[in-house]
């Protein structure tokens, strides 16, 4: 009988469960496109996706491709991996970006040193496929 220790289960990456509202956003990610929901009534953009426009209460909307540039609004450097999947990546930067399209996106910022982080620094979105269905956004310096 083997006395080798049983390997710990490999931690799995938490993955999004798209909703009926958010599916077009995730479909866009997979195609390398940043898709945002626009109100059919007043034209305003909203993120995250939801059924009703909070400005004009229209229930009709469509998704349109948005530009992928933006600027740092704030950030954190994650050292403690609250989910063990991220242990190998830590420390990693999660930057909250003011997208040029008028919404914000939180994602990992890659290739930028902590010392170079500043509010207003320009970045652009990249796309990282993690499996057949899911692609996640990240940012690099513009």
């Amino acid at each position: 009988m083997s006395t080798a220790p049983v390997a710990a289960p490999v931690p799995e990456r938490p993955l999004p469960t798209p909703t009926r509202e958010s599916q077009p956003y995730w479909d866009g990610m997979r195609e390398g496109r940043f898709m945002l929901q626009h109100c059919a009534g007043c034209g305003k953009v909203r993120h995250y996706p939801r059924p009703v426009c909070p400005h004009c209460f229209s229930q009709e909307s469509s998704f349109k491709e948005a530009p992928q540039g933006g600027a740092i609004h704030t950030w954190t450097v994650c050292h403690h991996p609250f989910n063990f999947f991220f242990k190998a990546a830590a420390p990693y930067i999660v930057a909250l970006i003011d997208m040029d399209a008028g919404v914000r996106v939180n994602a990992q910022l890659k290739g930028v040193a902590e010392a170079d982080l500043a509010i207003g620094k320009r970045v652009k979105m990249g796309f990282e496929p993690v499996n057949k269905e899911v692609t996640l956004p990240f940012f690099v310096a513009e």
């Binding site: 958010s22 950030w75 954190t76 999660v94 994602a107």
Partner: protein, 386 residues
């Protein structure tokens, strides 16, 4: 005309378990132990409880309280799903119930095995309010409150020059207060150097900027003021109470101003209901899931201007003997994490004159806040009635 909730309800009973790291008891058992202590403190029988607001998720639900305490005629069972703002917001719900005559004595109770049971990221998966964070932020490595709130703290530091030294001051003073209390998880002094040397969790939050994961239970009873007057303990009335919800409540990322918490809305309403202002507050128990959260709430509460919270906490101002003693029990940072119900308990003790070595001299009016669920904010202003 006074608001119909102004001083029509009172905190009539308070109860706590020991705050520990490790317990063989279930969250429900802790919640019931604290509940029985609060009922005894008020001089009531469990049979008198006719309303219940259990903290949820975690611990028991109304059915458990009926089954364990033999409640003969429960008239109200509520959940207040506001995370860390729940307990103080529940004071508003309970006050409404007793002021309208629906209930006589409403029990608010928390039981938590945050150390020996499921940890924070796991617990939050149960919150529907965290569904957006789970979909859009957890996959990129961002889900725990320490991470989500760190971005707001970083922005405050960048915009206003708030420093790690100032964050440390909140942790150090809170620890000093905890040591006076006795029933605390962290009972050894903390220095600024130890704070700065503690490991980084999510920049700018170091370990000692973060609240504890602990085991324990806490409970309070809200009664109609005229009934509470005849009970065992000195009368502590509710002068003002309010809950507030921020814009983009389930996503901090999309909030126009990350630093505009629900307290921005609830604090002015509570002050107005109470008929007092920041200058009248003798002692404040501020929800302290993180050191920075205290600093920002002090600004919102009007003790200083936006951007000045960091300098406000320095120079002994928030310690015993200072202009505004805060978290005189040790808070979530050093006493234990029972979602801030320990803050309401401590404020009641202060106003009764039962706070022992941490007693603020002649404390008459005090406030307690709740903060959580990505920025919901609740507040209650209590008074020692003559």
């Amino acid at each position: 005309m006074a608001h119909p909730l102004h001083e029509t309800a009172a905190v009539s009973g308070i109860g706590e378990t020991a705050y520990t790291r490790g317990t063989p008891k279930s969250a429900l058992a802790l919640q019931l132990e604290a509940s029985l202590a609060a009922i005894a403190d008020a001089g009531l029988s469990p049979r008198d409880i006719d309303g219940i607001v259990p903290y949820f998720p975690g611990g028991g639900i109304a059915e458990d309280f009926i089954a364990n305490l033999g409640l003969p005629d429960l008239k109200l069972s509520l959940f207040v799903p506001m995370g860390g703002a729940t307990c103080v917001a529940a004071i508003q719900s309970a006050a409404m119930a007793v002021a309208t005559g629906v209930c006589n004595h409403v029990l608010i109770a928390v039981g938590r095995t945050g150390y020996s049971g499921a940890r924070v990221s796991t617990r939050l998966q149960q919150f529907p309010q965290f569904a957006l964070a789970a979909e859009f932020e957890a996959p990129i490595g961002m889900f725990a409150p320490a991470q989500l709130y760190a971005q707001g703290a970083r922005r405050h530091m960048d915009l206003y020059g708030t420093t790690a030294r100032q964050l440390a001051e909140v942790a150090v003073v809170t620890r000093q207060h905890a040591i006076l209390n006795g029933n605390v998880v962290m009972n050894k002094p903390l220095t600024v150097e130890e704070h700065h040397a503690s490991r980084m969790i999510s920049d700018p939050f170091r370990l000692f900027d973060c609240s504890l994961e602990s085991d324990g239970g806490a409970a309070i009873i809200i009664s109609r003021a005229d009934r509470a007057r005849d009970l065992k303990k000195p009368l502590v009335t509710i002068m003002g109470v309010a809950e507030g919800h921020p814009e983009s409540p389930a996503s901090i990322a999309q909030r126009p101003d990350l630093l505009e918490f629900g307290l921005v809305k609830s604090a002015p309403r509570a002050y107005e209901m109470a008929g007092v202002g920041p200058k009248d507050i003798d002692v404040a128990e501020i929800y302290d899931c993180f050191t920075f959260t205290v600093i920002r709430q002090l600004e919102i509460l009007g003790f200083c201007k936006t951007g000045e919270g960091g300098s406000f906490v320095m120079d002994g101002r928030i310690g015993l003997g200072g202009d505004l003693p805060i978290n005189t029990h040790g808070g979530l940072l050093s006493q234990g994490h029972v979602v801030g119900l320990n803050h309401a308990i401590e404020l009641t003790r202060q106003l009764r004159g039962e706070a022992g070595r941490a007693q603020v001299k002649d404390a008459e009016v005090g406030l307690v806040t709740g903060y959580g669920d990505m920025g919901d904010g609740s507040i209650a202003i209590l008074r020692r009635a003559a």
